[in-house]
């Protein structure tokens, strides 16, 4: 958990425009709360190699 008000340099680094913003391995990101299954799916998604050209 990172409290956005206290760490503005991170807010800028990760372009946080709304909360909650979730970043997984700095690869997968989404804003808003997800139901458990969808959250787990995003965690597993972050394991996949980046596609060419990304």
């Amino acid at each position: 958990m990172i409290e956005a008000v206290e760490f503005p340099h991170l807010v800028q680094k990760y372009q946080v425009s709304g909360v909650p913003k979730v970043l997984i391995n700095e690869k997968v990101e989404f804003i808003g709360a997800l139901p458990e299954e969808a959250f787990v799916a995003q965690v597993m998604e972050s394991q996949k190699p980046q596609k060419e050209g990304n």
Partner: protein, 141 residues
């Protein structure tokens, strides 16, 4: 002036009364505490008083470099919620507002050594082959 209202304290005292294993709140701050470090320090003190199973340990981010390195801390205020195991749970900044119940729940989960995730979720997560770093940005309200 206390941060937690009396009724919140009683609620938390009740929630934490079920703790079986000890939980450490490991707090990193600095000598001259910034406003948020001071408030976080006070909040953690108030929480730790509510249960004899919750122990507050305070480190100086600058002087206790070995501890900061051990817990991979690079910004403060930082709170580690550790049980028998360090599960990698870190709160950076003051855990106020909506994050306060999250802090209390993490203390309970860490004490239990388990979570309320579904069996399916747990089965899936256990197949992870790479380290996962989850960062969640929040605001107090």
């Amino acid at each position: 002036m206390p941060i937690l209202e009396d009724k919140v304290k009683e609620q938390v005292r009740g929630d934490l009364s079920k703790l079986t294993e000890e939980v450490k709140l490991i707090f990193f701050t600095q000598e001259l505490e910034c406003q948020f470090c001071q408030q976080t320090h006070q909040l953690l003190e108030e929480v730790s008083i509510l249960s004899d199973k919750v122990r507050l340990i305070i480190y100086n981010f600058v002087l206790d470099k070995d501890k900061a390195k051990k817990y991979d801390i690079n910004k403060i205020p930082a709170t580690v919620v550790e049980g028998k195991v360090d599960y990698g749970i870190r709160f950076y900044g003051l855990p106020a507002g909506y994050e306060f119940p999250t802090l209390v729940e993490s203390i309970i989960d860490v004490s239990r050594g388990t979570t309320d995730l579904s069996a399916q979720s747990k089965k899936t997560i256990v197949t992870l082959s790479q380290p996962i770093h989850i960062q969640i940005f929040t605001t107090p309200s």
